[in-house]
């Protein structure tokens, strides 16, 4: 007897989604489809607005990665006005950006993706959350995670006004500078961030890599698809979050394309299906062949694993060591195992933290020349950054007064939409058999989308029932200032 299972809404990620799983007469999975039932229309209602307001409007696409949209919009506005930010403004932007990457990535691991591993994929739902993680690895972590998140967000609050929907980006620079007092204070946070990132990798090592059962899941076929990969790289082909050229590699890891942001239309097209509001990007030069893997299909992936796959390495030393360890463990580049996104994410967090330290150790970041006033007539421009969840493209066309006439956006998670669909279907087919549909098995299917961190690291406090919790809260000197018990 055929059956249909609807998971609605899917949970512990951003936004709205439902998964429809169709079983055949034998009770095996025939098809699994992820539908995204939401659309707001930013590409249309940007029309008529001044381009310098885009960095204030576009972050409302996503309240978890607003900094990514803010930065992409600001860079696109730079391009529209044919103006570069001053060197100091660029450093400030990079500081804000790397701080954001660091806190966002580590939060995802502890609150969203991590629990599946640390506690166990088929553990009771009530334990698959931060409390379960803490139960496994110790209470001090809760305090550390809250502290690193708060301190990093304080940096962004100071420089950009609000961490949820930052405001400081202007074409040609930023609105606020950094003074010496805050440089010194933030440098302490940056150093703590490096420590914390290493600590998170250590946890991953102890809890996941030393557990054979998990390693089997990571390298197994259920969570593996062979696709192209896309990410930003700097002049040395190393991973860069803020700026660079877009590089694409084949499923074998060979460079397939490398292009400037302004050339993205030559390489990326989007396919439409009538059963979802989201679009499905693919490589124009390969073509759309449906939801299939391999070299003949234009489907590609973005975000942490993809960025590492397309690069020749990390841009900072400690992260580079971890990068080498991952590829050694998983058998060389490129790695196709979807669950390795979690590992790559922590390596990126380390690079982000190391970059924060580099920027803050450079005293020239306190220089007061933070704005270049645009003088050229605005026309058209593209801004690309690496959001935590992938390549983020903002493209604006304006009239001679800088009023938006047309806007095009390709937003990080969208690039992964085809791959997420395929990953869910593959996992569902692997785990749901003979009509046996337990909650734990459904979670195995959901584990197929979580590594992509589909845009909502609102990692949070799923605190069910009577689990005791003690949180130690430390001030910036490491002094215990509060002990919370429930």
């Amino acid at each position: 007897m055929s059956r249909r299972i609807t998971i609605d809404p899917i949970t512990r990620l951003e936004g709205h989604g439902k998964i429809e799983i169709f079983l055949n007469d034998q009770g095996d999975v025939d098809r699994a489809i992820l539908q995204i039932p939401e659309l707001r229309g930013f590409e249309q209602f940007a029309v008529g607005r001044p381009v310098e307001e885009m960095p204030r409007i576009m972050p409302r696409i996503c309240g978890v990665c607003p900094t990514a949209h803010h930065m992409a919009a600001t860079k696109a506005a730079d391009a529209v006005f044919h103006v570069e930010p001053t060197p100091t403004a660029r450093k400030i932007r990079e500081l804000i950006y790397n701080t954001f990457m660091m806190e966002d990535h580590t939060l995802h691991f502890f609150f969203l993706g991590g629990p599946d591993f640390v506690v166990g994929p088929q553990a009771p739902a009530a334990e698959r959350n931060i409390l379960g993680v803490i139960g496994k690895v110790g209470l001090e972590i809760g305090g550390k995670v809250i502290r690193v998140r708060r301190e990093c967000r304080d940096i962004i609050n100071y420089l950009a006004g609000k961490v949820i929907h930052p405001v400081c980006g202007l074409p040609g620079g930023v609105s606020k500078g950094l003074d010496e007092e805050h440089r010194v204070q933030f440098l302490e946070t940056a150093k703590f961030a490096v420590e914390f990132a290493q600590f998170a990798l250590q946890i991953f090592n102890d809890v996941v890599l030393k557990n054979k059962e998990y390693v089997d899941i990571v390298v197994g076929d259920a969570y593996k698809i062979k696709t192209y990969y896309m990410g930003l790289v700097d002049g040395n082909n190393k991973v860069n979050f803020y700026d660079g050229a877009v590089r694409v590699v084949t499923p074998e890891g060979k460079e397939f394309a490398k292009f400037k942001p302004s050339e993205y239309l030559d390489h990326i097209s989007e396919h439409v299906e009538p059963w979802s509001y989201i679009k499905f990007p693919f490589l124009k030069k390969v073509g759309w062949k449906g939801f299939v893997e391999g070299n003949d299909s234009g489907i590609y992936r973005v975000a942490p694993l993809a960025r590492l796959n397309v690069s020749d390495g990390m841009a900072t030393p400690l992260a580079q060591k971890e990068h080498d360890r991952m590829y050694e463990t998983l058998g060389g580049k490129p790695v196709h195992n979807t669950l390795a996104f979690h590992w790559a994410r922590l390596i990126e967090a380390l690079q982000a933290a190391e970059t924060m330290v580099q920027l803050l150790e450079d005293k020239s970041i306190t220089d007061t020349n933070i704005r270049n006033i645009p003088t050229k007539t605005p026309t058209e421009g593209v801004g690309i950054v690496e959001a935590p969840r992938g390549v983020l493209i903002h493209h604006y066309k304006t009239d001679e007064r800088g009023i938006i006439q047309e806007a095009n956006l390709i937003v990080a998670t969208v690039h992964n939409a085809p791959a997420i669909n395929m990953s869910i279907e593959k996992a569902a087919k692997a785990f749901i058999k003979g009509g046996n549909v337990s909650e734990g098995l459904l979670n195995m299917a959901e584990m197929a989308f979580r590594p992509y961190d589909p845009c909502h690291a609102c990692g949070t406090h799923a605190l069910p029932g009577d689990m005791p919790l003690i949180i130690n809260v430390y001030d910036k000197n490491g002094e215990l200032i509060k002990k919370l018990k429930r």
Partner: protein, 326 residues
């Protein structure tokens, strides 16, 4: 789970997730809150489903915090469901309070938004002009999507709302105060916006820098001039919505040296934030010469999109005339 603790639900309509993040930003303070309540529905974080809410008795949820504007039929259904099941509903954040940024879609309609998203964007490859449909059949299986409306609505345009938590996103102090007030039963009269009833200028550090008679000779866009970090923006000729915006945000944008864009909405005495700001701006455009007036008006490049940045759906006109949309 103790049944004596009040039940709380969180839901998001056409939302960016920032209001969910604002709850997480309560940081340590969230624990005191969470210890005192039972969260029974929160899709971003917990695995409760819609059918779990449907199974609850009407009025059994003490308070539902609903963020996001209403743009799709599913969002309206969920808002109505939670209204039935809750004693109190709080519109959380600018989108549910005023319509928010998604409200800018009210200068357009479904047809134009779909056409842009699925047809005319330069990266879209869709020669057959496929668009998302409410019902489709794939491999013999029927799939459904909620209906996309022509118009965006604020929450109180679809359900009865008890209180409003303003801001995009609301700052943590405001949220904490609101939650404490609810838990202690010390709420103002129904319909109140949970932030002081005065304008931003009252609390702004730059207020004292205003000259006795504030006049604007020329409007400057923020990218055109170096922004003085101590002087009132309007005195610099830069549009700042402060005079027409409710206070309570801590002037976070002003501290980052950028002008206010009005996310808290107007004070109690005002129906239409955009119109009030237009009035204020016209008052300080100090000239009697018609040509100069025309020049200043010319330099205000997007009045509707600036003055109604967050409040278009709840403004008097609410949307652009449908017949005028191409």
């Amino acid at each position: 789970m103790s049944s004596a603790k009040p039940k709380v639900a969180f839901y998001w309509c056409a939302s960016c997730g920032g209001c969910e993040e604002s709850i997480v930003d309560l940081a340590e303070d969230i624990l005191k809150v969470v210890a005192a309540v039972d969260i029974v529905f929160w899709p971003v974080a917990l695995d409760f489903k819609k059918k779990d809410v449907e199974a609850m008795a009407d009025g059994s949820i003490a308070v539902s915090f609903i963020n996001g504007a209403v743009r799709l039929s599913e969002q309206e259904e969920m808002a109505k469901l939670l209204r039935r099941k809750s004693q109190l509903v709080v519109a959380h954040g600018s989108c549910s309070h005023l319509g928010g940024i998604p409200g800018l879609g009210n200068f357009w309609n479904k047809e134009t938004i779909f056409r842009r998203a699925y047809e005319t964007t330069p990266s879209t490859d869709n020669p057959k002009k496929v668009v998302p449909l409410e019902k489709t059949v794939v491999d013999g299986k029927e799939l459904t999507l909620p209906r996309f409306y022509d118009t965006v609505y604020a929450l109180d345009q679809v359900i009865d709302v008890d209180y409003y938590l303003p801001g995009c996103a609301p700052p943590r102090d405001l949220i904490l105060n609101a939650v404490s007030a609810i838990l202690e039963g010390k709420l103002p009269p129904k319909g109140a916006v949970l932030s002081p009833n005065k304008s931003l200028c009252d609390d702004c550090d730059r207020n004292e820098s205003k000259p006795d008679k504030l006049t604007i000779k020329e409007i400057k866009r923020p990218w055109e001039v170096m922004l003085d970090p101590e002087k009132c923006f309007l005195a610099q000729g830069v549009i700042c919505m402060g005079p027409a915006t409710r206070t309570g945000c801590g002037e976070r944008c002003i501290e980052a040296n950028m002008p206010c864009r009005g996310c808290f909405g107007p004070t109690d005495q005002v129906y239409d934030q955009g119109a009030k700001f237009l009035s204020a701006l016209a008052s300080i455009m100090e000239t009697k010469d018609e040509k100069e007036m025309d020049k200043i008006v010319q330099s205000i490049v997007d009045p509707a999109g600036t003055f109604y940045r967050f409040s278009l759906p709840t403004s008097i006109l609410a949307r652009k005339r449908m017949e005028a949309i191409k």
